[in-house]
Chain length 132, copies 4
């Protein structure tokens, strides 16, 4: 089961609304459960360098079926997944990637980049909650 | 001057409408004049392999400020741009990438993939015309 | 819906049997509908260079929901999809990639490489038919 | 001397059995002494992002003729192999890659990914021991 384009558009709209509320400009990406792109939007003035980061955050969350935030502590020097980012053509393991669920099943993920990682996570979460 | 997200969303909507009218499922991408992603949508059931092709068509059109269709004859064996596809991390030089213009200025491009190249070009053109 | 590992193993076994019957040594890959690897086997003595080709054939078939054999005429110089191989990190568009279906739905693909493309296609087809 | 496909299949079967015993879902890869793919299996529901990691663990172990676990301390900041992961198109240097030996000779490696690195190493070791 995969997120549909209509659902992805609802998610993007909710994320854009939250981004505007907290006065940020974001790159926002939705992928399906296979980590393939479904929808993307770059808000006017958002960092170009965040295009790839938003996509990689979404893909990382979908590939490992967990928010990227859960990976951050595990990838530090000395920790168990140190340098996992070198896999899969490049992962992003800091906050801003959030899984999309239908009940217990992961049906995709949203990735947000363009501000602090805390803001990115807030906006990604707002997007993910719009699915419910 | 660059296409805005609002304009890109209008372009995507027009392209999706045309794709549905001609009974196709498309991947549709809008990039700005710097060839950076602005908006993307994959219609439900559209080929996953066309995600990358739609993006590359849009980027190719923006990089060279011309529709990809204009490049197709020039890249054939013996012609002047033979093997140009190897540049820039991979170009796509068959139809489906169309420049977006404001007056005479190129402000971005749309790339469409998911059907025959003729259909792809029709849908990309419908998207580009929504800008006017 | 996706091919399961048990199905993929049945497919690999059938492909290996056919490869032995026609006196060839093959690399054989099964991917799911998202083009992600499910199972792979390289027969003893099969070309190492065919590892990547078998994988790319399977991924190409799954990405575009058609046998790679259907793509071969379209990618020739002067034809509509000339140079499409530069997309998606590298496609293989000659015979040997065959879609796996459950009724009308594509649930994955098999890719075979190691002999002539005609042999490759025969072995891939034998694998795909084991699903039924 | 290289692991054969029959041996690799025995190794995969043992690894899958151990993975099921400890209630995990794993991606499992066997490569030969030249680091080339011999066999691969993704258990149903295992992380897609672990496909590449399992392969990279196996290749890393074979390339350097040691378990990836032995590399982990050496790649930390300030240590002698810091950033070695950037070589060879991407190494994985945390546990889960285990060499396959015939007597003293390395004849290949197994890579496992899909759970904690401790679990991954346990499953890889179970696979390697099946060779004996």
């Amino acid at each position: 089961m995969n997120v549909t384009l209509a659902q992805a558009e609802t998610i993007l709209a909710a994320a854009k609304k939250k981004a505007a509320e907290i006065n940020t400009k974001m790159d926002i990406c939705v992928v399906d459960s296979g980590s393939n792109l479904v929808a993307f939007a770059r808000m006017d003035g958002a960092w170009i360098g965040s295009v790839d980061i938003a996509i990689k955050k979404a893909r990382t969350a979908a590939w490992f079926m967990m928010d990227t935030k859960s990976l951050s502590p595990l990838v530090q020097p000395g920790e168990s997944l140190y340098q996992i980012e070198l896999s899969n053509g490049g992962l992003i393991t800091f906050p801003g990637g959030v899984v999309l669920k239908h009940g217990d099943e992961v049906i995709g993920a949203i990735g947000v980049s363009g501000s602090t990682v805390e803001d990115d996570h807030v906006v990604a979460t707002a997007g993910a909650q719009a699915l419910k």
